[in-house]
């Protein structure tokens, strides 16, 4: 079954808010890995506490992904380092997502 995979890369400091936002939109889960990287807001590496990124993945229905993206965009894009992208995935147990 088709679902969307939403990937968000952003500042560690936003983790709590991000998770709230994901749940509020109705997604049933998420996965987080520690990451570092570089983008418009410069290098963000794990060298110092503040600096690192998280990479958050959510598998969900297309409209949920849409809603999370818009919400994040509205709230955080102006002031925070953040990148997000969507792709198509196939899942075996669609009821989980």
């Amino acid at each position: 079954m088709k679902r969307k995979l939403l990937t968000v890369i952003t500042e560690q400091a936003l983790e709590r808010q991000l998770v709230q936002c994901i749940k509020a939109a109705g997604a049933h889960g998420y996965t987080i890995t520690e990451a570092r990287g570089e983008g418009q807001r410069g290098v963000r590496n794990a060298d110092f506490d503040q600096g690192a990124n998280i990479r958050v993945e959510v598998v969900c229905e297309a409209n949920v992904a849409q809603q999370i993206s818009e919400e994040l965009h509205r709230r955080y894009f102006r002031d925070f380092a953040m990148v997000l992208y969507l792709s198509d995935v196939e899942v075996l147990r669609p009821e989980k997502f």
Binding site: E11, A13, G42, A46, D47, F48, D49, Q50, Y76, R78, D79, F80
Partner: protein, 315 residues
């Protein structure tokens, strides 16, 4: 001027960082060092409190908290008068400089130990009390009394950072069990203190060097502020110590606290509560300029000046 070996570790890290040496302490090690240093400072303070009539000190804490607010307002006023920075950035920087750096405090403690000047170890309580007020002030200066993320969230962030929790925890434990109770913990928390501080400063040197590239980007104004404001802060700190009748050693500690800028609690809180402020500005100032300045020049300078001027018996 006395040379403390731990300073050389800072220079080693700084040099290695500038040369882009293939070296970095993993963040887990940095965390461990921070935890140990915080507990160590707290325990030492608590042991002293256990032998002091500490209730007498409670009003002093109010005075010290006030000092944090005054320093924050002073920094904000200076930055705004210069017309170089938007309100949010000025408030964020003010929050950093009104608050304090425990790492710098630890260096001052080590310095006093090395030169053999006694001090009030319970000043660790002042560190706790100074950490928070200026951060709240910075938020209020931008958001007024209604922060976006709500006061609950702000309070949690500010009062439950590891700095406050571990210092306060160490103080309480030391106070409860006293010197005798702390004794079995001493090999790790007291005897090894300077060794851990050396490793911590090695890492801080690396960090400061990696941040130093951003100094140029932010211009001469930030550089000047981050070098001059500590002198102001140290003066205010020294005066406060005098008002509180502290010893010469205590005055050096309070001057150092006044001169120091937070690079852990303040950045985290401001990022969430005043996100439009550029975090690069305040972190560069606090970490890449003021911290090295205080470690290398400030602490011995404050001691030198106070040693000459400070009345032998306190205020």
């Amino acid at each position: 001027m006395q040379l403390d070996p731990v300073i050389l570790f800072f220079l080693l890290g700084f040099g290695a960082g500038l040369l882009k040496a293939e070296m970095r302490l993993p963040s887990a090690v940095y965390e461990l060092l921070t935890v140990v240093l915080l507990l160590s400072i707290g325990l030492k303070g608590g042991m002293e409190l256990a032998e002091t009539d500490w209730v007498r000190l409670l009003p002093q804490l109010g005075g010290v908290a006030l000092m944090g607010v005054v320093l924050g307002l002073l920094a904000f006023a200076l930055l705004r008068l210069s017309r170089k920075l938007p309100r949010s950035d000025a408030a964020a920087i003010a929050a950093h400089y009104g608050s304090v750096s425990v790492g710098t405090y630890a260096v001052a403690v080590a310095f006093l130990d090395t030169v053999g000047v006694p001090y009030e170890a319970y000043s660790a309580a002042f560190v706790v009390v100074l950490e928070v007020p200026a951060i709240l002030l910075g938020i209020i200066l931008v958001r007024g009394l209604r922060p976006d993320n709500g006061w609950n969230e702000v309070m949690r962030e500010v009062f439950l950072g590891k700095g406050v929790v571990l210092l306060l925890g160490g103080l309480l434990i030391g106070l409860i069990v006293g010197a005798e109770g702390v004794a079995p913990l001493e090999p790790l928390f007291i005897d090894a203190f300077k060794g851990f501080l050396a490793l911590f400063l090695l890492e801080m040197g690396l960090v400061a060097a990696s941040q130093s590239g951003t100094i140029r980007r932010h211009g001469i104004f930030l550089l000047a502020f981050a070098l001059v404001f500590p002198l102001l802060g140290a003066t205010v700190g020294g005066l406060t110590a005098w008002l509180l009748s502290m010893s010469l050693g205590g005055a050096v500690l309070l001057a150092t606290l006044g001169a120091s800028a937070s690079y852990i609690a303040a950045p985290a809180a401001m990022r969430l509560s005043v996100p439009e402020a550029n975090p690069g500005l305040s972190l560069t100032a606090a970490l890449a300029i003021t911290f090295p300045f205080n470690v290398l020049v400030g602490v011995p300078l404050y001691y030198g000046v106070l040693n000459a001027l400070y009345p032998a018996t306190g205020g």
